[in-house]
Amino acid sequence: MNDLLRPDATQQALQQRVPGLTLTIEGDALIIPADRLLEVGRFLKESEPYRLDYLSNLCAVDFVVEGAHLETVYHLYSMEKKHGPVVLKVRVPRDNPHQPSVVSVWRGAEYQEREAYDLYGIIYDGHPDLRRILMWDGFDGHPMRKDYVQEDQDALEERHA
């Protein structure tokens, strides 16, 4: 990872260039306030030293212990500069998981956001077509959330029960 993309360097650059933004660093990731995500995304995609034009991975994580929240993780790379990653995280509360969609910045988020919505129930505002993608339409609940109760079907155990 080059110096430019180190979390602290990115944090400083972002705080200078995007007015009124405060970021925290956690590990290698930058925590972005949900309402500033699009600004940050556009800046990272378009500004010259970064040019992070490629959203490699978008996924959601459900944290239930210590400050329960849902988190969306973005791994950004640049195909033009061939560098990366810059890791962004957006945290939303579990009971009202709304955050902006980044489809307008990176088209590649379209299906990945649909998947995160389907499995975790995070609602990405501004997504062109936010429907379930892997589970069927009438499915109830979001199966990857930690509090989702799984059905337990172990054929062998049942036979021996």
């Binding site: 590990g27 990731a29 034009d53 490629y54 959203l55 490699s56 991975n57 996924c59 994580v61 459900d62 993780v73 791994h75 195909m79 033009e80 061939k82 990653p85 890791v87 990176w106 088209r107 590649g108 988020a109 379209e110 299906y111 990945q112 998947e115 499995l119 379930r132 993608i133 892997l134 589970m135 069927w136 199966p143 990857m144 799984q150």
Partner: protein, 383 residues
């Protein structure tokens, strides 16, 4: 976004035809469905529907030890079990900071390049099936694939569900005679490719069907996170083997073939050229492979007792260039024996994002071959 004029001028009032291509259809490569709206034979709308093979792989992994998920990664993209194993192993190694012995690195490169050959020949064969060729290219491809699968069987004990990589190396050392067998296969491979190309590349019907069909512009490809041969067919020079230089790919001299237009023909031909480059890598790696450990002592301990393996709290994203594109594993560890979060970044799933953009304005028959050229495997798309 859609450059083509999708509605032709109409003198008569006509009705649009809604058609479900799939989930049971010969050319949807498994249980995949395309909801298509047709004007005559022209596609005016196309919505992919998936999830028929969904088994919540990611959640299964959360209830399992780290090693326990390894055989399940085989079943993601069941054509490329070896690269799936490799991507997962690399992600875990990144999470924990494990070293991989020299010989194991070489074995990993051998296996991933052989997998690339397997995948690219097979997908080219299937593409030709979608084009209406009656199985001849597919079976020629399968003939060669079979020889490589025999090698996989010799090394790992299974032809497709290899479960071969381990954290810190590979599960077993290469058996006697493997390198000789591999050399034989690799030496013959260019001859096979010549035959294959003679059958296909200049074929006028193939050219008429594939050229200027399903064009994916460079900008859209980058923005839509398209990866793999599809991206390179659109002319973007991005290959993770070169960019990340994971494993020991920086030691080999190979080129990245790039297309110019990004249509189905380019995707077909980029794959052929990629196979030729893979053969070059294999030539070298089979000659240079050193002797030594195939699995680090730590790795051996992990395989022997999976429940002693508790990665420290943290997260890691490991990615490789699988034959279909960027295959990534995102792992979050909470310090227990099970991963807290285990996410797969499936290349063929994300490559489907722009399926509609490529198909609009073309005929139904084109939609089928465009889908074929995306190279999807439902095990990976639906997980």
């Amino acid at each position: 976004m859609h450059s083509r004029n999708v509605m032709p001028e109409q003198a008569l009032e006509t009705q649009l035809l809604e058609l479900n291509i799939g989930p049971q259809h010969p050319s949807t490569h498994g249980v995949f469905r395309m909801e298509v709206v047709l004007d005559g034979e022209n596609v005016v709308k196309l919505k992919p529907v998936m999830g028929y093979l969904h088994r919540n792989h990611e959640q299964l992994a959360e209830d399992m030890t780290y090693i326990g998920s390894m055989p399940f990664t085989d079943r993601l993209d069941y054509f490329c079990a070896m690269t799936n194993n490799l991507a997962y192993a690399i992600a875990v190694e990144k999470l924990v900071g494990l070293d991989v012995p020299e010989r194991a690195q070489y074995i990993r490169v051998i296996m991933s390049e052989l997998t690339r050959l397997v995948n690219h020949t097979a997908v080219t064969g299937f593409l030709l099936n979608d084009l209406g060729a009656f199985f001849t290219p597919t079976l020629y491809a399968f003939r060669e694939r079979e020889k490589i699968l025999d090698l996989f069987e010799a090394a790992s004990g299974s032809r497709m569900m290899c479960n071969y990589m381990r954290f810190g190396g590979v599960r077993e050392d290469l058996p006697d005679g493997f390198l000789e067998g591999a050399c034989e296969v690799v030496d013959y491979y260019p001859k096979f490719l010549d035959e294959f190309e003679k059958l296909l590349t200049e074929n006028e019907i193939l050219r008429a069907r594939t050229q200027r069909v399903g064009i994916l512009p460079k900008e859209l490809a980058v923005s839509a996170s398209v990866t793999g041969p599809m991206l390179r067919a659109s002319g973007v020079n991005y290959d993770i083997r070169k960019v990340d230089r994971y494993s020991i790919y920086d030691r080999f001299d190979f080129k990245i073939p790039l297309g110019s237009i990004g249509d189905v023909y380019d995707r077909y031909y980029v794959r052929i050229l990629e196979m030729r480059e893979s053969v070059k890598i294999l030539d070298k790696v089979l000659r240079d492979i050193p002797s030594g450990e195939y699995l680090s002592p730590r790795g051996k301990a992990i395989s022997k007792a999976p429940r002693t393996f508790k990665p420290p709290k943290g997260e890691a994203y490991g990615r490789i260039e699988s034959p279909k594109g960027e295959l990534g594993f995102y792992l979050v560890s909470d310090g227990s024996v099970n991963p807290y979060r285990y996410h797969v970044r499936p290349p063929s799933f994300i490559n489907l994002t722009i399926l509609e953009d490529m198909c609009l304005g073309h005929k139904v028959a084109d939609a089928v071959i465009i889908l074929g050229s995306v190279d999807i495997v439902m095990g990976e798309v639906d997980r």
